[in-house]
């Protein structure tokens, strides 16, 4: 299941995979993933994929297991909690406001990069 706030990921994959679309920002996606991880979904992709820092792109897509598993995966919990901490740290300490202040053309590019990164895991 793909958790995303990227409309391009939704339109590309909604017929092939489960997509949970988040009407919100990068952090809202991470929080949604965290909630699922605590409900025994396991992380499939790393929530900090790509070299774009959290304050640099408005989009985020993460894959978790379709169904809740038998147990909570401790590694998944640690990774997603850490990702949220890193996000909060970057927003607090870095002055770059690229993510939310981007032009429409740049947002289009960010959507495409996010799709490509996710695709590198899905198209294996």
């Amino acid at each position: 299941m793909i958790i995303t706030n990227n409309p391009l990921v939704r339109s590309t994959y909604e017929n092939a995979h489960g997509v949970l679309f988040v009407e919100g920002n990068y952090r809202d996606v991470l929080v949604q993933v965290r909630d699922l991880v605590h409900r025994r979904h396991h992380l499939i992709t790393h929530p900090m994929m790509g070299s774009l820092k959290p304050n640099e792109t408005p989009y985020r897509s993460v894959i978790v297991s379709d169904d809740p598993q038998k147990n909570v995966d401790v590694d998944s919990v640690l990774i997603i909690e850490e990702a949220i901490l890193v996000f909060d740290r970057f927003i607090k300490t870095a002055r770059s406001d690229r993510g939310t202040g981007s032009t429409e053309k740049m947002k289009e590019d960010f959507r495409e990069i996010d799709l490509s990164l996710l695709g590198s895991a899905l198209n294996k």
């Binding site: 992709t45 790509g50 070299s51 970057f90 300490t93």
Partner: protein
Amino acid sequence: MKLEVGYIPIRDIRFGPESKVDNNVLYVNKRELSALILADEGIASVALDLARPGESVRITPVKDVIEPRVKVSGTGGIFPGWCAKVRTVGEGRTHVLKGAAVVTTGKVVGFQEGIIDMSGEGAQYTPFSKLNSLVLVIQPKEGTESHAYEKSLRLAGLKTAEYLGKLAEHLEPEEVHTYETLSVTEGIKKYPELPRVGYVLMLQSQGLLHDTYVYGVDAKQTLPTLIGPTELMDGAIVSGNCVSACDKNTTYHHLNNPVVEDLFSEHGKALNFTGLIITNENVYLADKERSSDRTAELCAYLGLDGVIISQEGFGNPDADLIMNCRKIEAKGIRTVIITDEYAGQDGASQSLADADAAADAVVTGGNANMVIHLPAMDRVIGSIDRVDHIAGGWSGSLKEDGTITAELQVITGATNELGFNTLSAR
């Protein structure tokens, strides 16, 4: 496997009626080279420009930097899988135009990043300010999608470096360096008392603008493997990574990997440089698990005493770095990791996105969030209009007078995680 690398020093670069190297000056025939580049149907136009050390020139957005090289003897050719057939390289003789570089620029995406200043404060932070550079400004045909444009740019850079490198084929080098890798058993017999040290080279491999290629193969499709260190010197590894300008490894870095260089120089003295393992940094968590498992197994299989691990990028590669470190240490092999830091503009925040008690020996390439001030330059090659939007820049970074206040991460190669630079911390 033994490779001789001959240096032909280049002290100036100029355009001329004939491409040649004469008296340590590199002359480039613009027309001939442009035709070679324009043979790619995806490219609409190419502008060639020159940038020399000390000039008031700013190059941006930089995609890749490549050193011109040629194979003089031995199997294969430079950049196997791209410019030459996929034969194993790394032995015989290779000539290098030392002091010259090909720099590719082009806006693959709107926020394309990376600055090289040839003078002023910014020049101190990038090794590329010291090179006589041929800059390719490449525009794609209308409607070319980003993946295709990235590939065209990458190939144009490689083809140009190969074209220039060939000019050195019949020249007499001023310096020749010899690098020899022994087989595992030969190494043990020859240096029984020396610690066996390996190098784990992590390659960025996550998708558009985040890829690296090994003999033409996308690194994210590979399992960790052993590769001869001299194979890197012949272009077995090529960069397609354009994100995070300060800590991406350009093709130039792969050709001149300083960890490899230092391990060779200590080989037979302080240590026995036993092997080089390349591994990837994928977004899929199962890949991270699989690749770090394989890497640790290879280290144990080689009977290593110590391993140096270098990272590329930030964020989820920190997870790969720590997994590699933890699993190799768990085999009883000591590790040193090389990374860089995003510790905030005041340097006070935690610098990596992941950590582990096993990672107790760390070398840093510097703090990418450090704020720097760049003077205006007389000339800009490429386009400057996006500086406010690139990583490390912010609204107002680019002033009307052409000066820039931004974070160090805007500079190409500034906090390189191979330790190519002089920045660090204690």
